[in-house]
């Protein structure tokens, strides 16, 4: 293969070192600090530590016993499935569709980007107003269609779904842009020669587009599941503190809660460590699933 060009490893240092320096100084070193914190007693963000926990792994045991943590993990796994299907899946469909039309492609590409740009607080407010119990947009529309009683969209039976829906919707544009970028790589000629052989549009998509997109899709899925572990701003604005009754916790929101609300920073550091570990594991799994794509 082309490995000959790159046998000389000297330039390797030049390429890797700058990025690594930045990441070590500003990410890894602070995170090591974070790991240490999870073994100590710290109350609020910024306070000094008050000595080691007793026993030092106390927070980790707490995590396994914490009922809310279990809810959070379960919900987050559901969220991962939602993001894979709802964000990446929908984005793939949209990207392929946009790729196959002539007029208006640019318009759609521009417009699909909008949701990511708006801050979570504003989006949260908008969705709160849409799902508002009294005079919310959805309830008003339903009333117009003749439904008599008001639905509380934020009660236990609907909460999880309503929380995941906006998160799902917001980031479709993100994966859409990445996928569109990937679609660039597929040469026109492949499609043309397939046309000459008599392939239909659907066949072209299935046998050319999707396989060649495999690497990019893999990237997207990795980003999606790791994102599900971290997401907190939009769910928090709509469903603060795991309302109602602690049913809507996600790993991201629960960690935020432990940092700022219950002022239990050492416990939240432990949760952060868990999130990182889960992130690495899931991304490895995803990569294995998509492995055959290596050229």
């Amino acid at each position: 293969m082309g490995a000959n060009i790159y046998k000389n490893k000297k330039p390797l240092v030049l390429f890797l070192v700058p990025a690594l320096i930045f990441m070590t100084v500003f990410l890894y070193y602070p995170f090591v600090q974070n790991i240490l914190n999870s073994f100590q007693q710290i109350s609020s963000l910024g306070a000094a530590n008050k000595g080691w926990n007793d026993p030092w792994y106390e927070n980790y045991i707490k995590m396994f016993q914490d009922k809310h943590m279990r809810t959070a993990l379960f919900n987050t796994v559901v969220m991962m499935a939602v993001t894979i299907i709802g964000q990446v899946g929908v984005a793939i469909v949209l990207a392929v569709l946009v790729d196959n039309i002539k007029k208006g492609a640019k318009f759609f590409r521009t417009v699909y980007f909008f949701p990511i740009v708006i801050s979570a607080t504003a989006l949260g407010l908008m969705f709160n107003l849409i799902f508002l119990y009294d005079k919310g947009m959805i309830n008003q529309l339903l009333e117009m269609f003749g439904k008599s009683s008001l639905t509380d969209w934020k009660d236990s039976s609907h909460a999880l779904f309503i929380m995941m829906l906006p998160v799902m919707w917001q980031y479709v544009g993100f994966y859409f842009v990445i996928l569109v970028t990937g679609l660039n790589n597929i040469s026109e000629e492949l499609y043309e020669s397939a046309s000459i052989d008599g392939a239909t549009k659907w066949q072209k998509v299935r046998f050319i587009t999707l396989p060649l997109l495999r690497n990019v899709i893999c990237t997207c899925v990795v980003l999606a599941v790791t994102g599900a572990l971290k997401v907190f701003d939009l769910p928090w604005v709509m469903f603060p503190k795991g309302m109602p009754l602690g049913k809507t916790w996600l790993t991201g929101t629960y960690m935020y809660y432990q940092t700022f609300n219950t002022k239990n920073v050492d416990y939240s550091s432990a949760i952060a460590v868990l999130i990182v570990v889960l992130g690495i594991i899931t991304s490895k799994v995803v990569n294995k699933v998509f492995k055959e794509a290596d050229y």
């Binding site: 109350s43 609020s44 963000l45 009660d155 109602p244």
Partner: protein, 448 residues
Amino acid sequence: MKKKLTALLLAGSMVLSLAACGGGGSSKEEGDSSETASLSVTTTFAGEDGNAQNYKNAIAEFEEKEGIKVNDSSATSDETFKARVETDFQTGSEPDVLFFFSGADANSFIEEGKVVSIDTIREEYPDYASNMNDDLIAASLVDGEKYAVPVNGYWEGLFCNTAVLEAAGVEVPGADYTWEQFLADCEKIKEAGYAPIAASLGEIPHYWWEYSIFNHTSTETHLEVPASTDEGNGPGWVEGMEDIKELYEKGYFPENTLSAKDDETFAMFTSDKAAFLIDGSWKVGGIAAACQSDPEDPSTLDTDKLDNFTVTYVPTNGEREATDLIGGLSMGYYISAKAWEDESKREAAVKFVEYMTSDEKVALFAQHTASALKEAPEVNEEDFNSLQIKSIKMMADVTSLTGAVQDVFSDECRVSTFDGMPQIVTGEVSAKDAVQEGLEIYAEQNAE
């Protein structure tokens, strides 16, 4: 490739050129400021705070009068802000003057001795804060010393929508409002088709929590956190939670109180759907704004609409009188030890605090809320709207102001009873267990 490189170069040169202009500018500034003294100040008078504009004006006046430059890093008080202040003290980058909470939030830096007490300041400046009534200045939880000079305070009372009360045939409560009368009134209001109480138990149960407990303690003992549910105020706390549960079971809270946000339930109150609202003095502005066609412009006030609101005393079913309210002065100006020990800053810092806590300034900031002034200046009724006047009248007959025990009951302790309020009122968790959990955490924290 060329395009990319040019883009990068352009960006780079843009940054550099801006840096050049900026660099030139800032070195000029620094040249100036090394001649005039400068003071770094952080307060919470920013953003939407009612006094943000007053504060900005006061700083401008001060800078002109004394020739001292004020570097103002004020920001809205939220959790990020508190974290930032604490981190500043930890890393030695604290401000010279700080306007901050005087309760549990200040513990960390008081414990480390990073701020000077008022007594220490008075050794050098005997007149410091002499216009304040010392008894009303909050003592720190750490060592009982006083550190922060207060400006404005707050009270919590019962706001009423008199239009709704009239429609339900209920009289506006007075100074001798009892719990039984309250329950009877709520029943009437409910039957008339309104929500008796506007509150979001899922988001902000704070005020009901406070008063329900207050109803079973007394003004002397209210701030004592019991060691367990069987000692001291313990049983009172449990009864308080059960009172709220009773109200919930009777349906006096809005239907969606467990999942609605506070803004929603407040809107119910201002749009004549609910009768009672327990909230603080800061809400007066909010209610007035709800009656203005342009919330930013007080001259658009619909006075007739505002006249439908009043504020009065909170019903009692215990030792306290209805006229004993929760309130106090929970924030104040600190001077950091760092500034105090710096000869060049000491004088400036003291001058600044004295300026901001002068009679004139305090009256401007405090208005219809509470203050620690020994002699409050006269109130000119024309400067205030009808709700503010009613508040001032109510405050005149208040028999006492007791601090809120939730201010000493830290966030961690509050989890089981605040965040867990929905579980308590639906019976999922017993009031006794929830209270016990919170008290245990408190005991643990204070055992050190």
